[in-house]
Subunit: 242 residues, 2 copies
Amino acid sequence: MRYKIDFSYDGSLFFGYQKQPNKRTIQGEIERVLSSINDSPVTISSSGRTDRGVNALHQIAHFDFNKDISCFKLKGALNSYLPDDIYINEVSKVDDDFHARYSAKRKTYSYFINMGTYNPMKRCQAFQYCKKLDVNLMKEASKHMLGKHDFTTFACGEDRRSDKVREIYKIDFNLSKDVLTISFTGSGFLKYQVRNMVGLLIKVGEKKESPENVGKLIEQKDRKKIGITAPACGLTLINVEY
Amino acid sequence: MRYKIDFSYDGSLFFGYQKQPNKRTIQGEIERVLSSINDSPVTISSSGRTDRGVNALHQIAHFDFNKDISCFKLKGALNSYLPDDIYINEVSKVDDDFHARYSAKRKTYSYFINMGTYNPMKRCQAFQYCKKLDVNLMKEASKHMLGKHDFTTFACGEDRRSDKVREIYKIDFNLSKDVLTISFTGSGFLKYQVRNMVGLLIKVGEKKESPENVGKLIEQKDRKKIGITAPACGLTLINVEY
């Protein structure tokens, strides 16, 4: 019996998503509870790992279970035993060919930048940048990131996968008080891709890089030219579409 | 030289505001850093303690310092040495008769209630109530809390101070998506008063208490009749006026 779960988490007190021995991880916590309900080990496959400190509103994973339990009961049991920084929004039964990662069609990530006064209450949910950025320049720059590209420029150095072509369908900007939200919807993202794109957009917003140059930087595929990797705390996985 | 500081904190990882031996407290952290800058012990007096788990956007305190340091430098030094869940918004020099607690004229607290899906990312900034409340009934009930009253009904049992008369000037309701914010402005508040008032308003919003009865409950001065003390995580000290 294959189940799909939709869950949210506050990444700030975990050593990342992926299970590691003797570390508190999101995957580790969920598998621990599922294995105990199932009376035998359960492994979950998510739509993708999130880095340490990254949050999720609707992460998706699937797993196979010996027992046929109602979705309602399973959700209740999971939320009773999971720590309060993970929450299962929904449990559903899916076909055996559903795969949280390979069946995913689109993903949306939002990056939150506080341009106002440092806010300790939001320090794990938004990058406390605390200076003004030129949002119009950033919007202009972001247009060069849209569409199908080899995103090597924004990949993590360790990423050894050969195919770095991804497609970005949409980049939305939203300014509410001093908090700028940049939302990226794409076919999928490389490790650190969103945080590196945001790093470059910040450089543009600081007027240290011109919006026109972004297209060239993507073509050059040189990670060293783009600036900082924006901190993990600002990033939230918003949803995954199938 | 007397200084006033305006500071914010995320209360979730502290054992409350007030200094306690071998516990991580907000007062303790600030005094530790100030004492080290001053080369001798410094005690701070705040506008009032906040309970464990309560947050603050603009808490105020004063202290006396041997050294005459510029406010700009002192703010910088404090923010460099303080942990990232406390932030000093402003440092100013004040007259020797300024007292953060006794000179305070009005205080505003906001209480945040999430009536939507449990959100692990907001669990330390809003009460995750996760059910709908009848906000109109709550507004009606809150009118009985306005003005000058003996607030014994909402006091903490341990509170031995004889004078429990306080004045509430304003109670505002704001609904944004599923998050209800109730803001209380008053001359001052007893220990647990806001959380107990919110507990009663929730009972009204659940239709387990009538709005009309709230006036009577205040008159009866019986803590046991009003229901729960709303959890600390939903409460934020917004500001103190002098």
